[in-house]
């Protein structure tokens, strides 16, 4: 306890003049306040500042067994261009006209959900496959956003693939690549 025994040991004989005893009890309220304030500060800075990570699994490049042919009609391609815009199409490049959209909730996520449902209906419940093709002028943030949207919409079959010249030409035509 924060009190010291100030009573003094034994009896004092004689009428000695003694100084008045003061209680040694210290008011700890302010100290406790300060301590808790600092605790709160340290808890907040340590646990809230932890960086998090999104797991990304790339297909094995050397293993030929994992690469199987997929029907084009189930494949959706996302071409990431500059200025935070992308275009998408289902099927083979060139045959279907791509549509230009943004990365927002109303754009990309809606398209992903809609197309996934359409493809599931027409293919007897088989899920959509998404191929992400970032061009050299898309940013890292764009790729992360796309992967995140795919995580949110629960599309498990996706891959990041290098862009082909045909698709690059599509981006150039739509002014998404200089």
């Amino acid at each position: 306890m924060a009190e010291l025994d100030t009573s003094g040991g034994g009896k004092h004989k004689g009428g000695k003049v003694r100084t008045k005893k003061k209680a040694t009890r210290v008011d700890l309220t302010a100290m406790v306040d300060l301590a808790f304030l600092l605790i709160t500060f340290f808890i907040l800075t340590t646990t809230l500042n932890k960086p998090k990570a999104m797991e990304l699994i790339m297909p094995d490049k050397d293993d030929k067994n994992t690469q199987m042919p997929v029907p084009e009609s189930r494949t959706m391609t996302l071409l990431l261009g500059d200025n935070n815009k992308l275009e998408w199409f289902v099927g083979e490049p060139g045959k279907t006209q791509p549509a230009v959209i943004g990365y927002g909730k109303e754009d990309l996520r809606k398209v992903l959900v809609d197309q996934n449902n359409l493809i599931k209906q027409s293919h007897g419940g088989q899920p959509m496959i998404v191929v992400v093709k970032p061009s050299a002028q898309s940013t890292y943030k764009n790729v992360v956003t796309v992967m995140d949207e795919l995580n949110i919409t629960g599309i498990e079959q996706r891959a990041i693939v290098d862009i082909t010249p045909v698709e690059l030409a599509l981006l150039k035509r739509d002014n998404l690549y200089k």
Binding site: M1, A2, R25, D27, L28, T29, M31, V32, A35, F36, L38, I39, F42, I43, T45, T46, N49, K50, P51, K52, A53, M54, E55, L56, I57, M58, P59, D60, K61, D62, L80, P134, S135, A136, Q137, S138, T139, Y140, K141, N142, V143, V144, T145, M147, D148, N151, I152, I160, D162
Partner: protein, 202 residues
Amino acid sequence: MPRVKVARKSTAIDMTAMCDVAFLLLTFFILSAKPKTQDPAQIQIPAATVIGPIPEVDFSTISIGQGKVFFNVEGDDIRKKTLEIMGDKYKIAFTPDEKNIFAGVESFGVPISQLKTFLAMDAKQRSTVTQPGIPVDTTNTNELYDWVHSARLADKALHDKDLKIGIKGNSQEEFPTVAKVIATLQKQKVDRFNLITSLKSK
């Protein structure tokens, strides 16, 4: 009728125990807090919603910013061992002093030929000097490949764990730099890695 008087008690509470506990916790949090690692380049990490925690040990971070690549691996012992393995590969003999300095350097981005000069600087100079980044050419001088490989060997040798790798990229970084790093990792069959992101709401 006589009033029932409640005996007045002192409102002062003994705070000693509370104070003890508070300071104990405070000490714990101060000691467990890790100083923020300073990245040599300005890196603004992108945000994502579906994310998990990243491990604090057996973890290596590859930072990408302004077209440059920086490398870091957690743990002083692992860093030291990594440098030893790298020294063997590139036939550069590092002195024990240089190894000790390297063990304390968190994130760095200099080619291995300049590493000795970099380690000879004092800590203040190191944090201000512009680092050229680790070469990640896809052809022959891919030093990042060797750094990652050495760090994986070191982690396996010292902790017997598989090193996990995180990529910390700047949001506005153009994708080819990131693609180069990913290709480097895939060359050594690292197909699983973490993209370090901050949290955002859906």
